[in-house]
Structure formats: structure tokens, C-alpha cells
Symmetry: none
Subunit: 134 residues, 4 copies
Amino acid sequence: MLLEIDHHSGVPIYRQVMDQIRRQIVAGQLPESEQLISVRELAEQLKVNPMTISKAYTMLELEGFLERQRGVGLFIAKLRKDQKGQTKIRLLEQMLARAVATAVQLEIPEEKTRQIIARLYQKHGFPLRSHSDD
Amino acid sequence: MLLEIDHHSGVPIYRQVMDQIRRQIVAGQLPESEQLISVRELAEQLKVNPMTISKAYTMLELEGFLERQRGVGLFIAKLRKDQKGQTKIRLLEQMLARAVATAVQLEIPEEKTRQIIARLYQKHGFPLRSHSDD
Amino acid sequence: MLLEIDHHSGVPIYRQVMDQIRRQIVAGQLPESEQLISVRELAEQLKVNPMTISKAYTMLELEGFLERQRGVGLFIAKLRKDQKGQTKIRLLEQMLARAVATAVQLEIPEEKTRQIIARLYQKHGFPLRSHSDD
Amino acid sequence: MLLEIDHHSGVPIYRQVMDQIRRQIVAGQLPESEQLISVRELAEQLKVNPMTISKAYTMLELEGFLERQRGVGLFIAKLRKDQKGQTKIRLLEQMLARAVATAVQLEIPEEKTRQIIARLYQKHGFPLRSHSDD
DNA sequence: GTGGTCTAGACCACA
DNA sequence: GTGGTCTAGACCACT
């Protein structure tokens, strides 16, 4: 599991961990039912406090993305196929909703917003990847 | 000047004040060179402590959106014409960048993102002014 | 009397007025025993509050640079010849003392400080003026 | 870290703290990447309210001299090598500029200013380290 | 009237 | 443990 922590972003570390794991799960990058790397190990990898990782794991469990097996560890939850798709759209919509609300207040037309979106997609090199599962 | 404070959002009050005033300035909703509502008055309106408002004003002054006249009050700074436009785009890009980064990781194609954007714009009744059926 | 007020410098206006008048007096740019421009008039010229000018005048009177003739107005005080010279040096020394203290802490050598001084003098075009009264 | 607060100078305490820390950083007296003394501790040392120290730290962070690590503390920022030198010169120039502007208006020749500078440097026992007769 | 500073004390998020 | 936020209330400088 590859995670990147930005200590200067202002975003709490436990949130960065949550967001990245959640995304990897719904993106299917983390195989279902597999055991998660342990709190201690991940903490060591990322050079952060174990309590921070523990907090992230606990909250992801509350959200239903992780399942705890007492005495064993945490596992990726099995999500129904449509659940994944729904979550993906929901996560994206949340972020876009705030962006569009801002754009509307600033009277930035949809066309301009589209241009920015297009540029950002290009920057991420997305067109090169296949997206047949949508 | 209309401001809305959400005491339960977790976002510091002074930041909510900053963000809303900054946006109103770059959106041209606050006329240049005009005196701002006073610290005490806004504090009373919003039912918060004057220091909280003072902090927001001070930070906006540091950012260059407000100008102080000692003993008189704070005024909307005159921004160069291009500065406003740049700030508007910058504010929007910040929000979109995170959204697109998420979309790419979730393998949501640009077309789908566009659809969501379009729907959100419609919901806000945009384009403004050019239609008469509002 | 020519005064320039910088509303954005952070220096209180009454201080800017004091400093400039004081300097003009010891520089001999204001003829001795002449009546000062009235509070109201100067306030109008500079577009500032009359109380601000009044405060500056009062403090200069306390410093001995102005003399009040009740019912008439304020006049430039007659300074003994050596007083002017002493005041000039004192004013300069005060400012230089703080600068050198800083330079020493920052380990900036005297030579570098001299260079900066020389550049600043050139910028003011000083070498062009005669300075035979020293 | 040694700081001295003058409660009667009229200069806000948080500014005195900022100025002294900033100078110590660019003077290299505070080692890079080292953790700063905590807000509470410094507040206790100086017998002032923690918020006062917090304000100074926050502003220095905005200026780029300090870096925050959430939940851990504040650290001296790593400055590019030339940044330090530039800041040193900038700090000194600011003070000298006002002094020379005064000197020019008072028609004090550069030579006289140099003499005062030289005397002040001697008083501070500069040049440092290169002499052994201290 | 304006904003700026400071205090004492509370509560919170983060690691 | 760390810093961040907010309050209520005081005092000050400036115009």
C-alpha cells in the first residue's frame, strides 16, 4: 500500500491516510478481503505517530470500508459492486459541488470551468488510460 | 455585506469570514475603496467576539484585499483589473484540482465529470442574466 | 510648508507631521519666528483630521521647536545656533544607532554598511548639493 | 533562545518577539530545522499570555521563517542560502534608508555619517572575532 | 468613532 | 504533549 503524506498541506495526517485508503479501495486498487498493513508497520513506514494511523483505521471502519477481526487485524470490506460505483460518484460530486458553487458566485461560466477540467485531466495523463468499467 | 457563519462546520469562524469577504471582493460584489463594516458592528451582527472579526480583517489586509487607514477604518483595496480575474481562476482551480485528482484515481472519465458539472451548474440556475425564465 | 503624508506607511500621521516639521526647522528650511500655517488650514491641505495636526503642533511645542502666542498662533522657536547643529546630529545618531546595532547582530561588516550608505546618498543626489555649513 | 521584552517601549510584545526571532534566524543563531521553544514555555519565560506568543509564531510562519508540524510544534524553516543574506541586507537597508533620508534633509554630509557609523561600530566591539584584544 | 493589543481561561484538534 | 480558536473584558493609540 503506497501512501504519501504531505506534512505541509495543512490537512491532518489521519485524514490524508483515510482519504487515500478510501480512494484506493473504491478504485479497486486494494484487493477485497485482504488484511491491511498493521498500524505499527504503517506508522513506521510513514514516520508518523501510531495513534494517527489507528485513528484513520478506526474511522474507516466506522464508514464501512474496513472490517475488524478481533485479535487478527483489519481487512478490506467486501463492497457490493454498485456500492463502489456509488461511492466513487459520491466522493467526486462532493468535491465538484463546492467548486461549482464557488464558480457560480464568481460568475465563471461553465465553459471556462470545463476548460480547466480538461487541462487538469490532461495533466494527469488520463486519456491514455482505458476506462471500460464505467 | 451578507455573511453566513456555520458554527458547526469545524471551519474556524475567522476563516469563514475571510473566505466569504475575499470571494465577494473578487466577485465585484463589494465596491472598491468603500469602507468595510466596522469590526464591532460585524461582530455584533454575527454574534461573535470582535477579536474574531479583527483577526479575519487583519489577515485579509496581509493578503492585500483590504487597506487600513489608521483611526478611520478598513477599506476594500483597489485591485489591478487582472488581479481580480487571476484570483477568481486561482480560487476555482484550487478546488477543481483536488476534484480531478480524485476523479483520475477513481478512473472516472472526463465525460462523466462534465456531466456532473453541467448538472450542478443547472441546479444553480446558471447561466445568470442571459436567460429570462428564472 | 510642504508636507507629505503616507497613509500606508503605518507611521501615525501626527508623527509624520511632527518629524517633517522638526526636520525642516533644524534644517533651516523654515524661517525663525515665522508664524506656522494654522491647524485648520494644514488639516485641509493634507486632508486629515484637524485634531491630528493639533496633536503634532502641541508635541512640537513641548519639544521646544514651536512657541505658542495665545490668541495669535504658533511660531517657529528661535534656536541657538549650536542647538540646531546638536539636534541635527542627535536625530541622525538615534537612527544610525539602531541600524548599527542590527548590523552588528547580523554580522554585517562596516564596509558593507558603508556601501549601502554611499548608494543611498547617491540615490538622494546629495553630492550635487553644497554642504558648506558643517 | 534568549529574548528580551521591553514592556514600556510601545512596541507590541508580539512584534518584539517576531523581530528578535527573525533576526536570530537570519543571523544563523538559531539552527535550521530545529524545534522552537513551545508557545506555552516561552510565554511562561517572558511572563506573557500564550496567545501573544502564538500570534508572533503564526506571523513568522506566514513570513516563511517557521514551519508548522501539526500536533508536534513549530520548527525553524530551511531557508535557501541566498535568502538569509538577502533578508539580512534588506533588514539593514530598511533602517539605513530612513537614516540617510534624514541626513540628506538635514544636509549632513556622507563623511559625517560615516564617522558616526564608525564610532558606533567601535562601540559594539566590531569587527568580531578577527581581533583578540576584546 | 476606528482598529490593535493583551489577559485569563476555556475548549478543541492533532500526534 | 503540541498549537488553534474563541470569549469577555480591559486598555490604548489614532483620527
